[in-house]
Symmetry: C2
Subunit: 355 residues, 2 copies
Amino acid sequence: MLTNSNLPTFEGPVCPVPLIHNDVIVMGHGSGGRMTQELVDRVFKKHLSNPILGEANDFGSVPSISGRLAVSTDSHIITPLFFPGGDIGKLSVSGTVNDVAVSGAVPLYITAGFIIEEGFPVSDLEKIIISMAETAREAGVQLISGDTKVAERGKVDKLFINTTGLGWIPDNMQIGGQYAAPGDAGLISGTLGDHGIAVLAARGDLGFETGIQSDVAPLNHLIGAILSAAPHTHVLRDPTRGGLATTLNEIAVQSHTAIVLEEDKIPVRREVRSACDMLGFDPLYLANEGKMIVIVPEAEAGAALEAMLLHPLGQFAARIGTVQSTPHDRVLMQTPIGGSRILDVLAGEMLPRIC
Amino acid sequence: MLTNSNLPTFEGPVCPVPLIHNDVIVMGHGSGGRMTQELVDRVFKKHLSNPILGEANDFGSVPSISGRLAVSTDSHIITPLFFPGGDIGKLSVSGTVNDVAVSGAVPLYITAGFIIEEGFPVSDLEKIIISMAETAREAGVQLISGDTKVAERGKVDKLFINTTGLGWIPDNMQIGGQYAAPGDAGLISGTLGDHGIAVLAARGDLGFETGIQSDVAPLNHLIGAILSAAPHTHVLRDPTRGGLATTLNEIAVQSHTAIVLEEDKIPVRREVRSACDMLGFDPLYLANEGKMIVIVPEAEAGAALEAMLLHPLGQFAARIGTVQSTPHDRVLMQTPIGGSRILDVLAGEMLPRIC
């Protein structure tokens, strides 16, 4: 057995030199060793620290909780990483907070897995982390587990972030696509297609300037307001990839109902509509990252709409349709001149890497 | 209002043709629309189905739970995807199950986020999903939320998988790196470096053949056996990236203790040692994916070791060291001839993309 007396003594840190050189990520930052620790301490913990994360175990240990939980995971591969109205950091936290909150749950915790390309600027990573921290604060969630991997140059496109969220579902809360019922009203919390067009503009693919900002935002507080006003809400769902049309089709299939929309009630910004007209896109299939579909019994539809209109993230909310019993599993669009057409799901890919 | 009488009628599915052509992933599989649904139904749900996932909401809703929770996230970017003893599917489930189980928690649920390269063979994806399903069954965890993204060719290296795990921590369980205490015994559940060398061999980087298989495995049942035998276990930790040396250093820092290892007690396969000698690697810094460090009060050390030796995943377990009070925050290696040296953390990157 080694005794203390014959051990060397140590003065100061073993490795006093900074391990983040030249402001770029190198392979060693994904090693799990000292360079990873350095990156975690200097960039991640600096902005995302909390008592649970501070314990530095492989797991985050959550204080005692009792009840049903909602869990949702999402990987974010958006390009570009920064776009008008947000960035991949704000997107990754908002997207997962929203996916948890649509269960009627109170989002509490979030995890984040980063896959970073060798050579990625540490300063850009820090901007994104700050954005995640701000969004987490806005939503009221804590980051409790993180992971960092680095892939060689050319093996990952700059930065991918996976976020997984965990929320507590209050007793008696029963919200889900399967609960849409004939007679329900369908509402939307605001204008459609802003995120899709903002990202397209940031890619330089539009060929013209727009002032459109992405709507990316955590919607849990808006949802809280809706549920206070309309406690018997049947469905909440954020129309992200595939847009309003695809998301409503999922709900129609889950609930075995028909959802009938009134075309002239659907809020779309003039600039978004113009851009769509020129590019051949349909705003009903464009991704949104800060909008909520609400399907609610007729008796509470007015209260739900009022609650949205009073909230900063719901000021352009509108009632856009009704749930009917037939034709099962379908979404129909009623035009102002009295016609109707099937609104199908997105079959292929309109805009890749939008979230 | 549209009435049912003037609606068209529908017969059969709108899109009866299969959407997975030529056995390859295309961008549309990441759209969130019909092709994504098709991929999810034909590949993911076929093998990973369960009642929670079957609800098809954006969130998985977990039945009522009460107590503390352990949550852990990990992104897997290993190359190659298939290697002796496992694949990225088995790795992604095992790694996260193990990170949850080292808290003393019972792993219950897992989420999976897939980022797939355009052109990736669907048949390979299905093999990986089957492997995930088998590993989840072995570990006794359910997949409750999934996400699929597709990036253009050259923007992601074949397939990355993020997994996040959720476990229930029994009352009074207090396990973590901060609880290592002077006088404790340090045990390891088996041979070191097998995963690292197996992956290196699969890359063709060794220049010679080995029969080494990765040790990748879910260790929660082994941990259950250890905790039954040694209920006052202080620390459990799997020495993955950075290997035994780096992981023990983390524990020494967390607990402000010294961990003293006996070099000739550390189990390393002859073939692994030979490969390391030839390549200039140190097996103490190589990644393991099916090994557990156990730090336990001296009074329960024998029982913990016995429990491991009786378990198929612990048959080469050994007692390898002792915790002392000083020198704080250090790992020391005691050689058979009576010398000692500091065993530092991995500073840079020895083997990239090992997990």
